[in-house]
Amino acid sequence: MSALETQMLCKNFGALAVADKIDFRLEPGARHALIGPNGAGKTTFINLITGRLAPSSGRILLAGQDVTALPQEARVKRGLGRTFQINTLFRGLSVLENVFLAVCEREGLGNVMLRRANARRDLLDESYGLLESLHIADDALALVKELPYGKQRLVELAIALGLKPSVLLLDEPAAGLPSSETAIIFDTVQRLPGDIAILIIEHDMELVFRLANRITVLVQGAVLMEGTPAEIAHDKRVREVYLGERDHG
C-alpha cells in the first residue's frame, strides 16, 4: 500500500488546468522528487494533497484511505506534514514556541484550556531536542523574525518534523538560500528517519539526483514521466522541456 496516492487528480481554474489527471504514488520510506519548470503546478499539487485547495475531480488516498473530502487538519492528524516554499512561520513567537505549538497540536492538546502548557515539560524537552538536531537550539528563545533567513528555513522544517509525519511534503526547502547553506538543509533531510515517505520539490538538479531514488516530472499540470534518477536523466523529452532550460540559461 502506498503512503500517499492520487488518482486522476484534476484542478481547473476556469479553462486552465493546473492539475491534469495526475496519477501518483508515494511509497513508504520513499525519497521522491517532484520536478518541473516554473508554473508546472508543483505547489498546486502539494496544496491539493494537503487540502488547502479542493480538487475539481479525482481522489487522494493517505495510507490507502480516501481523504479527498477531509479538511486540512484531519489529514495532518493522519500523518501528513508539509513545509512551505515561502516561510510560513509564527514570526512573533520564539523558535522553541514555533515547534512547541506543532508538538502540542500533534498530541491533541490544542483544546485544553485550564492547564498550563508549560506543565508538559516532556513536550518542551522534545521540541528543544528537535532544535538541537537541526543545530538551531542556540536560538531557541529568539523570536523567529529576528533570525537570519537560513535559520528560518530550518524552523520551517522543524515545525513539520514536530508533527512526526509519516508523509512529509517539502516544498523547495532550500528556496532562496545560497549554495553554502543548502547543504545544511539537505544533510538534515538525508538524516531523517527512513520510514518517513518524503516528497520534495526542488529546482537544483544536483541535489535532486543526490537525494531522490524516484523522480516525477510535472509539465503544465500533467505528469510527463516518472522513473529512477538515471531514467529521468537520459530521457529525451525531459531534457527538452526541463533540463534543456539550464543549457540555455
Binding site: 497540536e105 492538546l109 484550556m113 508549560n118
Partner: protein, 333 residues
C-alpha cells in the same frame, strides 16, 4: 556568537517556563486598587467604572490581542450582558450573582451565534461584520421598546444584597468591592487561559493562520470558542455596569463604547492582559486631564496621543516599558 546562558537544554527550556511564572509586579494592580479604595473614597463610583471597563478590555484582549480577531463590535456583548442583567433584576430577582451569570450567558450566546457566521471571514470584511452585528443589536434594543425601554432605557432596577449580606450603598463601597472581586477572578481565568495549550494556539492563529492549518489545528472552531469566551466576559462587564449603576441605556451598545475599548487596549498594549489595566487607566486619566485643560478639543488630544502611540510605540505603553527594560539590560552587559 557566544551565548553561554542558553547553550544547554536545562537553561533554555527553564527560562522559557520561567516566563509564565507569576511575578511580584503582577500584584501591583491589586495593591493599587485596594489603596485607591482608601485614598479616594469619594471617587468610588468612577473606580467601579474603571474596574468593569478593565474587565471589558480583558475580554477584548482575548479575542483581539491573542487570537487576532479584529473587532469594532465588542459592545454588542457588553450591551447584551447589561440588558440581560437589567431585565433579570427587574423581572426575575435582584440577586446579583445569578444576574451576572445571566449577563455572561446573554453575551456568550450572542457571541457564539454571531461568531459562527462572521468568523468565516477575515480582515476588513470581518471588521465590517462585527460592526454590522453591533448595529443590528443596537437597532433591536431601540425598537423593542416594550422590553428594553427603547431610547429611555431600563430604569428602576433594584439590587438585593450580595449573598444576602452586603447591601449596595449610595456611596458605591459595595459596588467597588464587588467589581474588584469579579475582576480578580476574571483576571485569574484569563491568565490561566492564555497560558494553556489552547491559549498558546490562539497566538499561533494570530501569527499565522496558514501554518496553524498545516499543523492540524481546527482554526475556525478555536476562533469561535475564544470569541464566545470573550463575549461571556464582555457580558459580565456589562452586567456589572447594569447592577452597579442600576440603569441600562442604549449607550451600552454604542459604537463609541466599541471604539473606545479598542483604543484603550491599544494604548496599554494588546496581547498581554495587563495592557487592559494600563490602557484603561491611562485613557481615563488622559480624558480627565485633557478635558480640564481644553474642554473644547479634548478628544483631539486623545486622538493625537493614539496616533503617536500607533506610529512610534506599536506595543502600547507596556511595549515602551519592555523596550526600555531591554535597552537597560543591553547597556549593563
Amino acid at each position: 556568537m557566544f551565548r553561554w546562558f542558553n547553550s544547554d537544554k536545562g537553561s533554555a527550556v527553564e527560562r522559557f517556563v520561567q516566563r509564565d511564572a507569576l511575578k511580584p509586579i503582577e500584584l501591583l494592580p491589586w495593591i493599587l486598587a485596594i489603596a485607591a479604595y482608601y485614598v479616594f473614597p469619594s471617587y468610588l463610583p468612577l473606580g467601579s467604572q474603571i474596574l468593569l471597563t478593565i474587565l471589558f478590555a480583558i475580554s477584548l484582549d482575548l479575542a483581539l490581542g491573542y487570537a487576532g480577531i479584529i473587532t469594532l463590535g465588542h459592545a454588542a456583548f457588553f450591551g447584551a450582558g447589561a440588558y440581560a442583567a437589567g431585565l433579570y433584576a427587574l423581572h426575575v430577582t435582584g440577586e446579583p450573582l445569578s444576574g451576572l451569570v445571566v449577563a455572561g450567558l446573554a453575551g456568550g450566546i450572542l457571541g457564539f451565534l454571531s461568531g459562527l457566521v462572521i468568523l468565516r471571514t477575515s480582515g476588513l470584511t470581518l471588521i465590517m461584520l462585527t460592526l454590522a452585528v453591533l448595529l443590528l443589536v443596537q437597532e433591536f434594543a431601540n425598537r423593542a421598546r416594550p422590553i428594553t425601554g427603547g431610547a429611555d432605557g431600563l430604569s428602576g432596577i433594584s439590587m438585593k444584597p450580595i449573598f444576602g449580606q452586603f447591601r449596595f450603598d449610595l456611596f458605591g463601597h459595595t459596588a467597588y468591592w464587588y467589581c474588584l472581586i469579579v475582576l480578580f477572578f476574571v483576571w485569574l481565568f484569563a491568565l490561566l487561559l492564555v497560558r494553556s495549550p489552547f491559549g498558546r494556539a490562539l497566538t499561533g492563529v494570530r501569527e499565522n493562520v496558514t501554518r496553524m492549518h498545516a499543523i492540524g489545528a481546527p482554526v475556525r472552531r478555536r476562533l469561535v470558542t475564544v470569541y464566545t469566551i470573550s463575549a461571556v466576559l464582555a457580558g459580565i462587564a456589562g452586567g456589572l455596569l447594569a447592577q452597579t449603576s442600576q440603569f441600562v441605556g442604549l449607550a451600552t451598545l454604542g459604537f463609541e463604547r466599541s471604539g473606545e475599548i479598542v483604543i484603550m487596549l491599544v494604548l496599554g498594549g494588546i496581547g498581554r492582559i495587563y495592557g487592559a489595566f494600563v490602557g484603561v487607566v491611562i485613557f481615563m486619566i488622559a480624558q480627565d486631564t485633557f478635558a480640564k485643560a481644553d474642554p473644547a478639543f479634548w478628544s483631539f488630544w486623545v486622538g493625537l496621543m493614539l496616533v503617536l502611540i500607533v506610529l512610534f510605540a506599536r506595543g502600547g505603553a507596556l511595549g515602551v516599558v519592555d523596550q526600555a527594560l531591554r535597552w537597560v539590560r543591553k547597556v549593563r552587559r
